[in-house]
Symmetry: C2
Subunit: 206 residues, 2 copies
DNA sequence: GGCTGATCAATGATCGATCATAGTTCAGCT
DNA sequence: AGCTGAACTATGATCGATCATTGATCAGCC
C-alpha cells in the first residue's frame, strides 16, 4: 500500500490479459484438453493481433497448460495421471527447502502464518484452496530466496493443485490441522519442519 | 539415434539462435552487466526483425540473464552476490529430491554415472564443468520426473554454476572424489544419498 | 488396392510499419 | 536558480501482411 491507499495498479499488457482469459478457459473446461489453440483465431475473436496471443501461449506453455510443437502450434494439454504424480514431489521438495531456509525468520514468530490458518478456517468452499496456498506461499516467501519463490510460482501451484484436487476428489478436511502442526513446528524451532511440510504437501498427491 | 545413425536434427528457429548468440555475448563479457539490449538494434545487426529478438529476450529473462521492465526493455543483469547465494540452495534442494527419486533406478546400477566420472577425470580445464554437470544431469534424469528435469534445466544450471565458479575462483579439484562418493552411495542404496548430493552441490556455493 | 509425388489449404514464424509510453530537453514562468 | 509542462526522441508493444512448414488431398502409376 502506498500513500494513496491504492493498490499498486499494474498496467497489464495484452499478452497478460489474454493469458488469463485462456487460463480461465482451461480451468473452466471451456477449452477442452487436446483442443487446438490457433493463434489467429484467438486474435480475431479478441480483436487483437497474433503477437500478444503468441506471447500468452508461451506463458501457458511455461505453466505446462498447453503444449506446443515447432511449426505446429499449441493445444490444451491432456492432463495425465503422470503429470499429477510428478507435480507433488517437486512442489514438496521446493517447500521442504523453503521451510529449512525460513526457519530463522519464522522461529518463534508465526503470527504471519496464523493469519492464514484463521482465514482458511473461515473460508468457504471455493476459497479454501486459495487460502491454503497463501499459507504455503507465506513460508516460501519467508525463506527470503527470490529464486526459490520464483521457481515455486512458476510451477503454477494454485492451478495444478486445484486441478489435481478436483480430479481426484482429494479430501481437504484434515489439512487445517496439519497447517497448525507446521506453524507449531516453526514456533518450536523443530528442525523436522522441512520433512513435516514435505509430507504435508505429498499428502495431496494422488 | 535412428536408423540413419544421425542425431535427431533439430531445426532451430531464429529465436533460439539469437538466444544462443546473446548467451555467448553475456558469458564472454562482450555484453556487460547493466548494458541495455535494444530489440531493434540487435535485429538490425543480425538482419532479422524485432519478433525473434523479443522471443530470445523472453528466454533470457527466464534464465535470469537479463531483466526487463514493462515498456522499458531489457538489460543484462548485474549478477549480485545475492543471486549466487540464492542459486545453490535451490539447485541443491532439487537435486536432493532427484537423488531420492532416482534411488530405485540407480541402486546397484551406477554404470551410467561412472561414465561421467571417467570423462570428468580425463577432461581438460574448459570441459570440467560440462562433464561435472552431465553427472548431475544423469541423476536428475534418473529420477524419472520430467517436471523435475524441466525445472532443473530452467535454472540455467550450467551457466549460473560456471559464472559463480569463475567469479569466486571456486576450487574444483576435490569434486571428483565427491562424485565417486555419490555413485558409491547409490550403489549401496545409502538412504543418505539425498543429503550427500545436497551438501555436494552446496559446496560450490560462495 | 496401395504407393509416390504434386498440389493445396491451414497456420506458425517472421517481417516491416505503426502506435503508445517513458524519459529527456528546454522554453517559459516564478 | 528551480519548477512546470509542452515538444521531442527512443523504443517497447502491437499491428497487418507475407513467408515457410506441415499435413491433407488427390491424380498417376505399379
Amino acid at each position: 500500500m502506498n500513500a494513496l491507499n491504492a493498490p499498486a495498479l499494474v498496467r497489464t499488457g495484452l499478452g497478460d490479459q489474454i493469458r488469463q482469459l485462456l487460463i480461465d478457459g482451461i480451468t473452466s473446461g471451456r477449452l477442452q484438453p487436446g483442443e487446438r489453440i490457433v493463434e489467429r483465431r484467438i486474435a480475431t475473436e479478441l480483436g487483437v493481433s497474433q503477437a500478444p496471443v503468441r506471447e500468452a501461449l508461451r506463458q501457458l506453455e511455461a505453466l505446462r497448460l498447453v503444449e506446443t510443437t515447432p511449426n505446429r502450434g499449441a493445444r490444451v494439454r491432456e492432463f495425465t495421471e503422470a503429470d499429477f504424480k510428478e507435480f507433488f514431489p517437486v512442489r514438496a521438495g521446493l517447500e521442504e527447502t523453503a521451510a529449512n531456509l525460513a526457519m530463522p525468520r519464522l522461529a518463534g514468530r508465526v503470527a504471519s502464518l496464523e493469519v492464514h490458518i484463521e482465514r482458511l478456517a473461515a473460508a468457504a468452499d471455493a476459497d479454501v484452496m486459495r487460502h491454503s496456498i497463501a499459507f504455503h506461499r507465506e513460508i516460501v516467501e519467508a525463506a527470503g530466496n527470490r529464486l526459490l519463490r520464483s521457481v515455486w510460482e512458476s510451477l503454477g501451484i494454485e492451478i495444478w493443485t486445484t486441478l489435481s484436487v478436483r480430479r481426484h476428489d482429494t479430501e481437504l478436511c484434515g489439512k487445517t490441522a496439519e497447517h497448525i502442526e507446521i506453524a507449531t513446528a516453526f514456533r518450536d524451532r523443530d528442525p523436522a519442519v522441512g520433512r513435516l511440510l514435505h509430507d504435508h504437501v505429498m499428502s495431496y498427491a494422488p
